[in-house]
Subunit: 427 residues, 2 copies
């Protein structure tokens, strides 16, 4: 059944030979320094593509979709200078959410609501930029559409994660910038922590609960000759405190101050998180458990067992938000992947995640491709065991070769009044 108004539109579109649809884009998951660059790519392709009319951005990911909190990015990001600023802004300007869809086989409420909102806004393309939870959302929405014969709303996922744990892509946008931050910061801290002629250990805790990619990037600090890190422990190897102490004692016979990089997700040989060991015992003034990180836990162990000066440093929010130090390679790829995702959806792509394929290392070349969403929502991309040295306390040359191209190039960050300029969605 086509009503008179729809008929009018259809006739007009046939005259122009172009059926225009609107595009909806949302961001979610933990922020990164590159996710706004991907948004920029989506908007650029949306503005350039004649089959796309308006570009809406949903605030706070799926939550904003379901509550119709949309902004008109066609207007907001029309100015190239605004888009340039957007690419230099950390975190997700559209906001994010922590919302997991129940399978539609159990409850269709949110699915029906989403589709009715898509219809209301004439959304033909939905681009969801995020990590594994966002890919799960995109996957579920897309299987719902397929099962219900909805073919005029095309759903594409675009990866983003500083932890680099999404499978079926060589790497994810956001990782290269985080890796550049980690490598630079370890190189700078190395200058700092070797300054006293006293035995000391500096422990640096790096993001990664399930995969050690970003911790491995600490090794890049050596590339210009820095003598750090001395030891690197990834969460892919079960962690033994005895072996750790023996490694530290051994290294300390060679030099007085050590810098050690550890993944936040280190686990004991029985599979429990190292950081749980502390949480389950220590209490604060109120009798609450102290939530301590793995570096702080190891700090206490070293203080007791080695007795030297020990410090622990968490790279915390800085490793995912230091956009002033973003990798040009990462930002360029982040923009590109946003662009191709839109172009692919317009050409008929649906239910897939955009991914990066590495073509060569020297010179570094990559191309954008697509994989079905169902191949990425299950499982985590871990560091291959053969890229970790047999002793489990460092990485191999293959890992260095994988990492190095991803941190290349510096962005031209715009400063005003001495600090970087960030872009914000007008209220």
């Amino acid at each position: 059944m086509i009503d008179t108004m729809q008929l009018g539109i259809l006739q007009k579109e046939r005259r122009n030979n172009i059926v225009k649809k609107n595009l909806l884009v949302a961001q979610s998951g933990s922020p990164s320094a590159a996710i706004n660059a991907t948004l920029c790519g989506v908007v650029e392709q949306g503005l350039a593509n004649e089959k796309i009319d308006k570009i809406y951005g949903a605030k706070n990911g799926l939550m904003g979709v379901l509550s119709e909190r949309f902004v008109d990015l066609t207007e907001i990001l029309e100015d190239p200078e605004a888009r340039q600023q957007l690419c230099r802004t950390p975190s997700s300007v559209l906001g994010a959410c922590r919302m997991k869809l129940s399978p539609w086989e159990e409850t269709v409420f949110e699915y029906e609501k989403a589709i009715s909102i898509f219809r209301k806004y004439n959304i033909g393309y939905f681009i969801y930029i995020g990590g594994s939870h966002s890919m799960d959302t995109a996957y579920k929405l897309s299987t719902y559409c397929e099962a219900h014969d909805i073919h005029d709303i095309r759903i594409i996922g675009v990866p983003k994660t500083i932890e680099n744990d999404l499978p079926n892509t060589d790497h994810s946008p956001g990782f290269g910038s985080a890796a550049k931050y980690v490598a630079t910061t370890i190189a700078e801290i190395a200058c700092d922590c070797h300054v006293y002629a006293l035995p000391s250990v500096t422990l640096v805790e790096i993001a990664g609960t399930e995969s050690g990619w970003l911790t491995a990037a600490s090794a890049l600090a050596r590339i210009n000759g820095e003598q750090a890190p001395d030891l690197i422990y990834l969460c892919e190897k079960p962690f033994s405190i005895d072996r750790f102490l023996s490694d530290v004692r051994d290294k300390m016979t060679q030099k007085h101050s050590l810098l050690i990089a550890v993944s936040e997700g280190l686990r004991n040989e029985d599979g429990t998180y190292l950081s749980d060991s502390l949480q389950s015992h220590a209490e604060d003034v109120f009798g609450h458990k102290i939530l301590a990180g793995v570096a702080r836990f190891l700090e206490e162990i070293l203080r007791q067992e080695i007795g030297c000066k020990v410090r622990s440093v968490e790279l915390n929010l800085m490793q995912r938000s230091a956009s002033h130090l973003a990798s040009q390679t990462d930002i360029t790829e982040a923009i590109r992947i946003g662009r191709v995702a839109v172009a692919f959806a317009v050409e008929g792509g649906d239910g897939e995640m955009a991914c990066i394929k590495r073509i060569s290392n020297e010179p570094y070349k990559s191309e954008m491709s697509f994989v079905p969403l169902d191949t990425v929502v299950h499982g985590v991309k871990k560091v291959p065991q053969e890229w970790i040295c047999p002793e489990g306390n460092d990485i191999t040359q293959e890992m260095m070769e994988y990492l190095l191209p991803l941190i290349q190039g510096e962005i031209s960050c715009s400063y005003r009044n001495g600090i970087p300029i960030h872009f914000h969605i007008p209220r």
Copy 2:
């Protein structure tokens, strides 16, 4: 009594009308992003000054002086490119020490040793770059010389501290770069922590045990429109947990996520450190006290009392070593103060500390001057009470005007392989 050899030297010098002496320079105290720029200034002036022959650098401050661990900086830093790299390298390339001289009235051993080593190496000028402990060393050595009629060894202190707590100088080199790091990082974290539409508090702990200058610099994040920090607590005001909770509850009626900056040295109204409250109660798996920072302490309090998501972030070693983000104004002044210190010593200056005088804010102008070392070794430069808002939870416009010029300008950092190049003293 002049022996034959000395007579020969004197005759030669009289022929040239120039008495050449060697210069000794050392660095000490906690590192900063600008202390190597000051070393560069010292070396540049040393190389250019016809009354200076060799320039020695002592490794690990006073410790290296007393153990004659000298390097020849005339050679090592002859190349302008090496000096340029030095200015972009964080921490003290000569190393530092934690050594406090006993008063010479009690024991003269180290004093006599230092003077004999100065004589052995024909040192006419000793430049000590550092914080309050280093100024104390320079002061004691200089009073010893004065009391013992030693007038041919001139001792000058040059300030360095990210905490900005040295008195009798408008500010100290190193502070501006740390302030720029703090402002930039708070602006970036602000983008990150407001991303979810959920009540949350992010606490950021900033260096400063006795003074809150660097914590105050967090307010510079607002200069380009960032809505952060929401609350700022400096260690100059006694801290009340009740008032803090009331401030947080009040702000949360206006916005869902808060960013709060706190000085590491916050104290209770009874004068005890806030962080001690936790240390004195909590224990780890081994029954050791947990050394927790003030942000982590407040994190637990907020979790219990407000019940929202709370995170704490320590800027830790990064705030003093992030030389890739150094302030051009700071680096320029750091080089200048090193140069004038040497020129002043050669012209007869002795027993003084180089200092910075602010001439004007718009445009920002400063000049280098000198103050007697005895006026800086006692006391700490605290933030004036009138630069803290009456509620004690923010800073005033006067403070903003003081801070803003010091973070202006970006250095051109040299990258190779995607990370900054650092200078190291050859082994």
